[in-house]
């Protein structure tokens, strides 16, 4: 029994962190902020070389066949720099989906970094729901309608599209497909609206087959959030330990100290739950994997924006400027919250699991 990362994972983390600090730190994030293309070819190539693109892809498709707990390390590190690349959508989401539907060619292209893909789930409306398909019609494997908030759709080669008739694979260069970027206060993430007008798709199977992919993506999104929240706390503590006001370092004021202590508590509870959720994705019980993923997102959505906001508060006026990095992490945590539904959505799902379902377990045995 160990809830910590293995030594191997920590070594992997150190390598990643060094690479990101040198080649794709927050300076890189800022540089890509307003660009159409979130990535540069050389950074993406390095990510491939580091094994990020192939991490979750089976070995027989040129991947590494690694566990989600390894991907958790990647996502935490990417969150620490508010990385703009399509890792969440493609390396976690599309790679897992392609493996489930055994799309061997796509898997190889994803593993090698020559292609990326993403999932088109959400449809117009207010609050996010996973399986709502009122705005997409499918007739004879031809799709017409709208998906919104599709992550990293611009630049992607393929879309996994959910519909009332199941999951379809659609090439982004298919005739009738229009992808329009959606504004987002977090410029480190890219979303788009995708319109389909009689677009040909390849039927892949039931929506339910995507359920474990969505659980993985929820957990990966929270791992990214944890990394960003951790970095926000580090920056806030460092700033509070330096900055003087009224002749004192502001970090010596009890109000600031308690704010930081609250942030640490929120962070460490989140880490404990996240690591459990990562392990649960790998451990094999799909119900438990789902419960853990749902809790993870409910917790992250409710808590991480508060960590970001507290960090901004500690920075004071400096936190309100474009110049300091802390705003990057605050925005990253806001989009972590809102992407694929806030805490209301996932607390209701959790209620369905543990109030309508079985009584909650008291011991693990």
């Amino acid at each position: 029994m160990d809830t910590h990362c293995t030594e191997q994972q920590e070594a992997f983390r150190a390598t990643l962190r060094r690479f990101l600090e040198e080649k794709a730190g927050t300076g890189f994030t800022r540089q890509r902020w307003d660009e159409d293309e979130p990535m540069t070819a050389d950074v993406w190539q390095s990510m491939t070389a580091l094994g990020v693109t192939g991490l979750l892809i089976p070995e027989q498709a040129d991947g590494i066949g690694g566990p989600m707990s390894d991907m958790g390390v990647v996502m935490e590190e990417l969150g620490r720099v508010a990385h703009p690349g399509p890792c969440w959508s493609s390396c976690v989401g599309a790679s897992s989906a392609a493996a489930i539907f055994q799309l061997d060619t796509l898997l190889r292209a994803l593993a090698g970094g020559s292609q990326t893909a993403t999932l088109a789930l959400e449809e117009p409306g207010g609050r996010f729901t996973c399986w709502q398909h009122a705005h997409l019609a499918v007739v004879d494997n031809t799709l017409t309608g709208t998906k919104i908030q599709v992550p990293d759709a611009i630049g992607a080669d393929h879309l996994f599209v959910t519909s009332a008739n199941g999951v379809y694979l659609v090439a982004t260069d298919a005739p009738g497909l229009t992808i329009t970027p959606t504004e987002c206060i977090d410029g480190s993430r890219r979303f788009a609206e995708v319109r389909f007008e009689n677009v040909a798709g390849t039927p892949l199977g039931d929506n339910a087959q995507l359920a474990p992919v969505i659980d993985r993506m929820l957990v990966a999104l929270c791992a990214d959030g944890l990394g960003a929240a951790q970095r926000a706390l580090e920056l806030a503590v460092a700033y509070a330990s330096e900055r003087r006001q009224f002749g004192q370092r502001i970090g010596s004021f009890q109000a600031i100290q308690h704010l930081c202590a609250d942030m640490l508590q929120q962070l460490e509870l989140g880490r404990a739950g996240l690591h459990y959720a990562l392990w649960a994705q790998d451990a094999g019980d799909p119900c438990e994997a789902h419960r853990a993923a749902v809790m993870c997102k409910a917790y992250a959505a409710e808590t991480y924006p508060q960590i970001g906001a507290s960090a901004i508060q500690i920075f004071g006026g400096a936190g309100f400027t474009w110049e300091y990095d802390i705003q990057l992490f605050y925005k990253r945590l806001l989009s972590t919250q809102i992407t694929w539904g806030g805490s209301e959505v996932w607390l209701e799902e959790l209620a369905a699991l543990v109030i309508d379902g079985e009584a909650p377990p008291i011991t693990v045995e």
């Binding site: 959400e122 409306g125 207010g126 609050r127 996010f128 729901t129 709502q132 009122a134 919104i148 908030q149 959606t182 504004e183 987002c184 206060i185 977090d186 979303f191 900055r243 003087r244 006001q245 009224f246 002749g247 004021f253 109000a255 600031i256 924006p305 906001a309 901004i312 508060q313 004071g316 006026g317 936190g319 309100f320 400027t321 474009w322 110049e323 705003q327 605050y330 925005k331 806001l334 989009s335 919250q337 809102i338 992407t339 539904g341 806030g342 805490s343 209301e344 209701e348």
Partner: protein, 385 residues
């Protein structure tokens, strides 16, 4: 107990309302006087400001001798409500009119009063304040920007930050240290500096929303004539702290903005659907919307207490000291509620900016931490030890 506005405010309200109906052009509606203005917008706002000034609405709280109508709190509140109702932009110099002008009236030379105040009122000159410095946000007394008297000029060197409208400003109410050996609140002098003087560099300060709302101002051997001096040398602190006696009206109007946003949020929830039902029918969204609505209404109730206090000649009480903090709390609650209720839509456009911007309400003008220190010590009398 009586929560009705005094009946004699009604004629003034009707006068203002009619004037706005006849004079406010459609394209001016909703135009903000904060933040990054393009030259056309600035021109439009200047024209509007002159109209306001000519009609006597630009600075109604000023004494009559300076072109105001010595308006009491009720008239100020009514004007603000009507301007808000009509979505009329405020005058261009909010800080100038409310904070700088009182100092000039109290301490200025006749020349300063005669030349500066009318142009400020009309928006011909734009004013900024040079108080905050890097490394001294809320801690004004530790300021380091310095001025040395050299014949009939002050030589100013240093840096200021968080200057609202600094990049557009013609004048700056500048606090400089003139006696480095004096205790912190002393040895500070107030200058009214022409921003077009050589040696002044203004750099926009980009906020996290990407706007150039604030500036940094750098002074390098700037020669300001001694005629720029406001009040006595080394008494700049007292000079700058001069305010009009009925300033409570400003704070009392904080609820106007939040209540309009809340009404918009409720309307947005009515118009969005989730799973085939309006979001406004969702029980959880209803709780959140009702809660934010309640706090908006209570901010108004608190404003009424402030107004009534002023109206009935009571000194400001606990209600005044918490108004800014409760306003900040509700601005941030609106941001969080918009995220819950509108989902991804709260990540962009006005709602997105509003959420980011709400963070400033607990920082600018005294952080939450400093406000609470003051409330605890001054209002509740808790010990300092």
């Amino acid at each position: 107990m009586d929560y009705r506005y005094p009946p004699d405010t009604l004629p003034f309200r009707m006068e203002v309302r009619q004037w706005l109906q006849h004079n406010l052009d459609e394209e001016l509606r909703g135009l903000s006087n904060r933040g990054a203005l393009n030259p056309e917008q600035l021109d439009a706002l200047r024209r509007w400001n002159r109209k306001l000034a000519d009609a006597g609405y630009a600075a109604i709280s000023w004494p009559a001798e300076y072109g105001g109508r010595a308006a009491g709190v009720m008239e100020q509140v009514v004007l603000a409500e009507e301007m808000h109702r009509a979505e009329a932009p405020a005058a261009l110099n909010p800080i100038g009119l409310a904070n700088i002008a009182p100092s000039i009236m109290a301490w200025g030379t006749e020349e300063q009063k005669r030349t500066l105040l009318p142009r400020m009122q009309r928006g011909d000159d734009i004013w900024c304040q040079g108080f905050s410095e890097p490394g001294a946000g809320s801690d004004l007394a530790s300021l380091r920007c310095r001025a040395v008297l050299d014949g009939d000029h002050f030589i100013v060197n240093g840096q200021k930050v968080w200057n609202t409208l600094g990049h557009l400003a013609d004048y700056c109410e500048l606090l400089v240290r003139t006696d480095p050996d004096a205790p912190k609140h002393q040895g500070i002098t107030c200058l009214l500096v022409d921003m077009h003087l050589p040696g002044i560099t203004v750099k926009p300060l980009t906020t996290l929303t990407g706007e150039d709302e604030f500036s940094e101002i750098f002074f390098e051997d700037v020669r300001a004539p001694t005629s720029a001096l406001l009040g006595p040398v080394n008494q700049g602190w007292q000079v700058a702290m001069t305010t009009l006696s009925n300033e409570r009206a400003g704070v009392a109007n904080l609820h106007l903005g939040v209540r309009k946003k809340i009404a918009r949020l409720i309307q947005a929830a009515r118009e969005r659907e989730v799973d085939g039902l309006p979001v406004s029918r969702d029980p959880i969204a209803r709780q959140q919307l009702a809660r934010v609505y309640l706090y908006g209404e209570y901010q108004k109730a608190l404003a009424d207490v402030c107004i009534a206090g002023e109206l009935n000649g009571r000194p400001p009480g606990a209600e005044s000291s918490i108004t800014k903090q409760s306003w900040s709390d509700i601005e941030q609650l609106i941001g969080e509620t918009s995220a819950s209720v509108l989902g991804a839509e709260a990540q962009r456009g006005d709602w997105g900016d509003n959420r980011l911007y709400s963070r400033a309400t607990s920082i600018a003008g005294g952080t939450t931490q400093i406000n609470k220190n003051i409330i605890a010590r001054r209002v509740l009398g808790l010990p300092k030890d």
